[in-house]
């Protein structure tokens, strides 16, 4: 339990999380666009999109989830770059504003990562974070 004494104003609001999203929109970097196009073609569904979601659970509290989606759901937000569509449900969007999906290639391995400015901490497994 934290206790603070104040008349009307919290003593040090900056020490508390405000949880305000830090950016808007969702970005895809060049290599992510190229790779998504390739994967969609391999799946024989060039017109499908990618769904990105945030779910409760995971070791740091929240976890990312990505899956293929044939169509957007009614309340989804849709982002598009060069014909590659990303669908995000409104609740997840609150945690993803300003996030960029990148495809990283190194000598050792390659794969997708999310660069989320809302993240305060993440854990080693890569798909779990907290805001």
């Amino acid at each position: 339990m934290n206790e603070a004494t104040s008349t009307f104003i919290a003593p040090n609001p900056s020490a508390l999380p405000t949880g305000k999203p830090t950016g808007k929109g969702i970005g895809l970097d060049d290599s992510a666009v190229v790779r998504l196009k390739k994967l969609l073609a391999e799946r024989n569904t060039p017109n499908a999109g990618l769904r990105i979601a945030v779910k409760g659970g995971g070791c740091s509290g929240l976890a990312y989830h990505m899956e293929w989606a044939e169509e957007a759901r009614p309340r989804d937000k849709t982002f598009e770059r060069e014909g590659v569509r990303v669908f995000i449900d409104p609740k997840s969007y609150l945690y993803l504003m300003g996030t960029e999906l990148i495809f990283e290639e190194t000598i050792m391995a390659s794969g997708f990562k999310l660069r989320n400015p809302n993240e305060k901490s993440a854990c080693g497994c890569g798909d779990s974070f907290s805001v």
Binding site: K55, C59, W68, F112
Partner: protein, 613 residues
């Protein structure tokens, strides 16, 4: 691929979800199949119960369940049982070492058992083996993958114990959708959540432990009101009572370990038979002991009364009486004993719910919860279970919101803040609980309102009220206001997300981002207006009480200053202008304040005789 995100394909067949009762003595796995929950074979020979025993072989192999039980006697330190009692504990916890004759590895933090076949293992790893076995058995029952589970934990488990259980799930390759309190699982299995509201008790008598929980159903969510029990009381004690009677009857003064083992087995069998028949016979080496159900009931009465004490205490802790309890659920194999059922009925004054197999009821409830959580139509509700979606706060003077718990705070959580009175002699404080990200009450969602009255009359700012916001794991908010000098308090409980659709939550958040800057301006304005009001109250009070200290001119000019501040604070929307005006009036009042101080000192001096100075 560590560090990278996988893209899942919903067109590929999904894994099944299960509910798991990870018990001290036995563990079970269940799943909802065609709308009906049922337990799956968990051990060899289609047994639904998997003994929670793990054996580590010298070869490095791991054996779980009944076959591990058979190895207990031969390799006691390599065979871990009742590992649940070690979850989340460190060797530093005084009681830990008493829990079993294992070879503990001294050192950092968590308990480690030195076992055959390699590295020492932690309780998380041992539990992980049990979960992995259950997962594998379920997968062979489904002939498909199992990747997600709801796992039950005792209601009294602390954060460390819960985290350890989650970690064990992850180790077994299971995504733990949620940890569910065992009594809540039992209540779900009986569909008690379909009631509008009410208070329920869960009486859980297992082989070696007894737990009693009182649950309150609030808007479809169970809250644990109180827990109690005895971690060393269970059906095994019933068996020992029978063994003792047999030893007396057969005149065995110093029984051999073999005799005790034999008798324990016979006693257990006799106990189980007496559930269906009223008379049976115990036979050892040609000697016979007839036992009637009435005999047995009499022998275990002292044990039942021990549970009764815990039950009554738990009901009292919940601030209730037995008559308030709407239903009682029986959990644990030992509640099959007819004497236990009639004893529970006598305490609560109503027959307990006992239609569902008491060994399976917790796992079945977990399966129902797992099904609810993964049901696609309800998937939206699953999201964001562990954080609050919108900030919670209360209204302060002028309609400004003071946030107490910020959005995205992990729950359960609790925060307290102290608020002071605004006026001299203020005897009440209105607590208005609001939700949302906006700075002003008019833009927020009103959740609840109550009044703390009976604050003793004091000058402004002296009355101190501590307001505590607490949110439990189910998202239920309780707000308590306590005046610190008298200790008087008032409290209220609400469910912040009740009646709030996803669209509304989303809209409230987007609004707050859109209006963020504007809101801050308005907040600062209101704060200055409140400040001005406070200064005006004080200035007018002094004019009435000490106005004679001012010359007519001075008085006139001061009154003009007061008027000017009042007009300004009501007309301008420039918070800086009000701040300046307050400062100017302060300056203007300085000589006046000095004279008032002098008079007060003179008054105090007159009140005393000269000698005291």
């Amino acid at each position: 691929m560590k560090g990278f995100l996988q893209i899942h394909d919903p067109l590929k067949p999904k894994g099944h979800v299960v509910g798991i009762d990870l018990g001290t003595t036995n563990s079970l796995v269940a799943s909802v199949i065609n709308g009906k929950p049922s337990c799956l074979p968990a051990d060899e020979g289609d047994a639904r119960l998997l003994p929670s025993v793990v054996h580590y072989a010298k070869s490095g192999g791991v054996v779980v369940g009944k076959r591990a039980v058979e190895l207990l006697a031969a390799a006691p330190t390599d065979t871990i049982k009742s590992v649940k009692r070690f979850m989340g504990k460190s060797l530093g916890d005084l009681e830990t070492k008493k829990l079993g004759a294992y070879q503990f590895v001294e050192g950092a933090g968590v308990v480690r058992f030195q076992v055959a076949g390699g590295q020492p293992v932690t309780p998380i790893e041992v539990s992980g083996e049990i979960l992995r076995t259950l997962k594998r058995r379920a997968e062979s029952a489904f002939a498909g993958k199992v990747e997600q589970a709801v796992i039950t934990v005792p209601a009294y488990f602390d954060d460390a114990q819960r985290q350890a259980t989650k970690d064990a799930g992850r180790l077994a390759g299971l995504e733990v959708l949620r940890l569910l309190n065992e009594p809540t699982a039992a209540a779900l299995a009986y569909g008690l959540d379909k009631n509008a509201q009410g208070t329920f008790a869960v009486y859980d008598l297992g082989g070696g432990t007894f737990d009693i929980s009182v649950l309150e159903l609030v808007e479809g969510v169970f809250q644990v009101k109180s827990v109690g029990g005895d971690s060393a009381l269970g059906g095994d004690d019933f068996d020992r009572t029978i063994v003792q009677k047999a030893l007396d009857a057969f005149a065995i003064a110093s029984p051999s370990p073999t005799q005790i083992a034999q008798l324990l087995q016979l006693a257990r069998a006799a106990k189980e038979r007496l559930t269906d028949v009223t008379e049976t016979t115990l036979e050892l080496d040609g000697q016979k002991l007839p036992v009637t159900r009435a005999d047995f009931d009499g022998w275990i009465q002292p044990l039942l009364q021990k549970t009764g004490v815990a039950v009554r205490r738990a009901i009292k802790d919940a601030g209730l009486t037995a008559a308030d309890i709407k239903g009682v659920v029986l959990v644990g194999g030992s509640t099959r004993v007819p004497a236990v059922r009639s004893y529970v009925e006598s305490i609560f004054g109503k027959p307990p719910l006992a239609d569902i197999d008491p060994d399976q009821v917790v796992a079945l409830g977990a399966a129902i919860q797992a099904d609810l959580l993964t049901n696609t139509e309800r998937q939206d509700e699953v999201l964001l279970l562990d954080v609050i979606p919108l900030s919670l706060g209360l209204e302060t003077m002028g309609g400004v919101v003071e946030k107490v718990i910020y959005r995205n705070s992990a729950i359960p959580t609790a925060q307290a803040q102290v608020f002071t009175t605004f006026q001299d002699g203020q005897t009440g404080m209105d607590i208005h609980v609001v939700q949302g990200e906006r700075e002003l009450v008019q833009d927020s969602r009103s959740l609840a309102r109550f009044r703390l009255s009976g604050i003793p009359s004091m000058p402004a700012g002296m009355g101190r009220v501590q307001v505590t916001f607490a949110i439990d794991a189910d998202g239920i908010l309780s707000v308590k206001a306590k005046e610190q000098t008298t200790g008087i308090e008032q409290a209220i409980t609400v469910k912040p997300t009740h009646g709030l659709s996803d669209e509304e939550v989303e809209q409230m958040l987007l609004d707050s981002i859109e209006h963020g800057e504007d809101d801050m301006q308005r907040r600062q304005l209101v704060e200055q207006q409140v400040d001005a009001a406070r200064v005006l109250i004080d200035a007018r009070k002094q004019l009435v009480e000490n106005g004679d200290l001012l010359s007519a001119d001075e008085r006139k000019s001061f009154e003009l200053g007061v008027e000017a501040l009042e007009t300004l604070s009501k007309t301008t929307d420039d918070h800086a202008a009000i701040k300046n005006a307050i400062h100017e009036l302060d300056e203007q009042a300085r000589p006046f304040v000095e004279r008032i101080m002098n008079r007060a000192i003179a008054k105090a001096a007159v009140g005393h005789s000269i000698q005291t100075f």
